[in-house]
Amino acid sequence: MNVRTEWLHRLKGLLPGHAILDTGEWIELCPPLAALRETAITLMEAGGCEFASLVAEAQDAGEGWVLRYFFYQPEAAILIAIHLPIAAGAVLPAISSPIHAAAWHEREIEDLFGIPFQGYPFLGDYVLHDSIWPENMAPMQREFDPRQPVTGSGIGPDWQPRRLLREEGAIAFPVGPIWADYNEAGLWVLETSGEQIYESQSRLFYKYRAVEKIAEGQTVGRVLLLAERFNGSAAFAHAYAYCRALEAFACCQVPQRAQALRAILAELERVRYHAATLAELAGSTSLAVGKSMLQEVEEQILCLSGQLCGHRYLFGLCIPGGLAWSPAPAELAVLYDDITEITKSLNRLERLLVHTSSFLDRIEEMGTLRPDVADLYGVVGPVARASARKIDLRRALPYGAYVNHVPVIPREIEGDGYARLRLYFAEIRASTTLIKTLLTQLPDGPVITECPMVAGSALGWVEAPAGGAFHWLHTNDAGRVLRWHIATPGARNWHAFHRALEGAAFQDFHIIMASFGLSVAESDR
């Protein structure tokens, strides 16, 4: 606890006169409303912290709200929360002009809770599109009944995207929400006066399913189904983060064998996710054979998962207290052999891809997210690590089996499509190596322990394939969910996506999008 005590003192020095306490899970700061912005800036600039999540919920008793701004210190592995109870009707100072990573969190809270923010350049028309939803709707307020249809409607076809480019002959080119192939629903407005994209906006939440709202009042088991299904492509990671939050306040010690197996499955999911991203990237440049070969590897991993666990996307495996999967030694041997084979195929494909100049021409110096921009937006996951950021929750806030088995965390500095391609392959290698290490050192014992139903709240996190994901869970003593909030890597990275499009030609839009490897379902929720 040396580092922790040291940081507690350091924070007291940085923020004199503030109430600072150690809750065990995190260090909690309770500044007055007026000092919120200063406190957050101090944490980021003097404390070297990263922004994690912003959770709003109704106060247990009475009117008003509780806001928790979560940060983490990556070198010291400490979670820090700013705890801020506010009265109903209070105006919050926006922290997102200095801390850009919080911007979409604040926009979401303004839209869904109706909490006003001061100092934010544009609010509204975010989750709830002005074209279809009536004004002044706040579905996350407790009294809002999700089962009742909403009366009233939005402005309809009168809605027009904001135009940023003021130039003679400039046009706004819409891409989406329905695409020519299997892409997910979402609208990108590309502004140009000729060939290049000068400005662009991502309009998400066409797939808003209100999962956080419908989770309210449900049993924790039922919300676990939502946690797996709202995104699907990183189902295990989100189930893992959700279960970690639940286990944290239930004081449940997950058995060692389950910890190791959870890490194995999480890494298997990462390999599959990256293989699918690479297949899309090859496909976006019309490299059909490369795409097909990568898809074959993806299908091989899916079949392996289906054969071993009964589900191709690892649904229903991670449960509170451990795992619902107890593999026999023969099954683990199959996993080891197949992983070896998959690694070989992917290494071979990487050699082929980096020796295809027509492919490299399309991704080199394409969709560059400069390191300073990546820092500004606080991007996470492989996209961040391809832009020189050293952000990975497996190392910054180690959990489960990663405490003793820190994987190799590759990094590239260019931030272009080629850097992301190399990074995906490097992460696949690191993950397969870790899976093999864990398989050879797998502890014996049970894979599940009892997880008692208690009232409480906690933050659970994992490094999902696309980056860090934070699940805030608050339950009552009947095992019902009062508040569940998900901070997804998808939302964080889509926020910065338009910066990678600046100056790109139209035909490169798909390539840049594929190289980011982001899920819309994950950010829309």
């Binding site: 192939d181 209100a210 699918a276 070969m293 074959e296 299908e299 589900h311 996307y313 649904f315 379902a521």
Partner: protein, 217 residues
């Protein structure tokens, strides 16, 4: 410079012979189709070696497209709130192992050119309009295939202010393919049913084991 042509020729034919021959690999048929921890796995694979029947007709189904469409069908996909796992499975239907194109079924970019509308997701409020417009833009005869538990009855989301609770709440549906997510072979079976290449005679003929998630409250 990598020689992709030679590489692919050396690899040879990679397409399964399914559904004519029973060579779907083990993991291609998930034992727990709906992804539930305690899902009842009735029979993993029929002893005769046949693939499971995934697709089912709805009560209001118009049946398959007329005979002349059988080997030339154009499909339009609309995402109305599908999860990433389903999108992942969908992307694999024209990958080498499954190779949708050998059935004469192709994905098209324009609804004007489409005979089958493939829909996934519980139909979110924002996608209701685009879905309706797509359906209305399609020429007759047309069929709708709803894939995934969410598209059938809303799945885990059910029916609420944000989700319509299934495709049938918005447009008429002819075939459903349950599963969360349905595997690529099941999605293809749904398209084959709409094309008339796979016979689903009885609306009650649903051999799908386990109930979609939405029913297990």
């Amino acid at each position: 410079m990598a020689n992709w042509t030679l590489t692919s020729l050396v690899l040879g034919t990679r397409t399964l012979r399914w559904p004519r021959h029973e060579d779907l690999p083990l993991g291609a048929i998930p034992a727990r189709l709906h992804g539930l921890t305690d899902e009842v796995v009735a029979d993993e694979r029929p002893s005769s070696g046949e693939a499971p029947i995934w697709v089912a007709r709805t009560a209001t189904s118009q049946g398959p497209l007329p005979l002349r469409f059988r080997h030339s069908v154009r499909v339009r996909f609309v995402d109305t709130g599908a999860n990433g796992a389903l999108i992942g499975e969908l992307r694999l239907i024209d990958a080498p192992p499954y190779n949708l194109h050998r059935f004469g079924i192709f994905i098209t970019a324009s609804p004007r050119d489409a005979d089958v509308l493939l829909v996934a997701g519980p139909v979110t409020k924002a996608m209701r309009g685009p879905l309706l417009k797509t359906y209305q833009a399609m020429p007759e005869p047309k069929r709708v295939v709803a894939i995934g538990d969410e598209a059938i009855n809303g799945g885990v989301y059910g029916k609420n202010f944000a989700s319509a609770g299934g495709v049938a709440e918005v447009i008429p549906v002819d075939f459903i393919v349950p599963g969360c997510p349905p595997p690529p072979a099941a999605i293809i079976q749904g398209l084959l049913a709409a094309a008339g290449q796979y016979a689903v005679t009885d609306p009650a003929q649903s051999l799908v084991k386990g109930a979609p998630v939405g029913d297990t409250q």
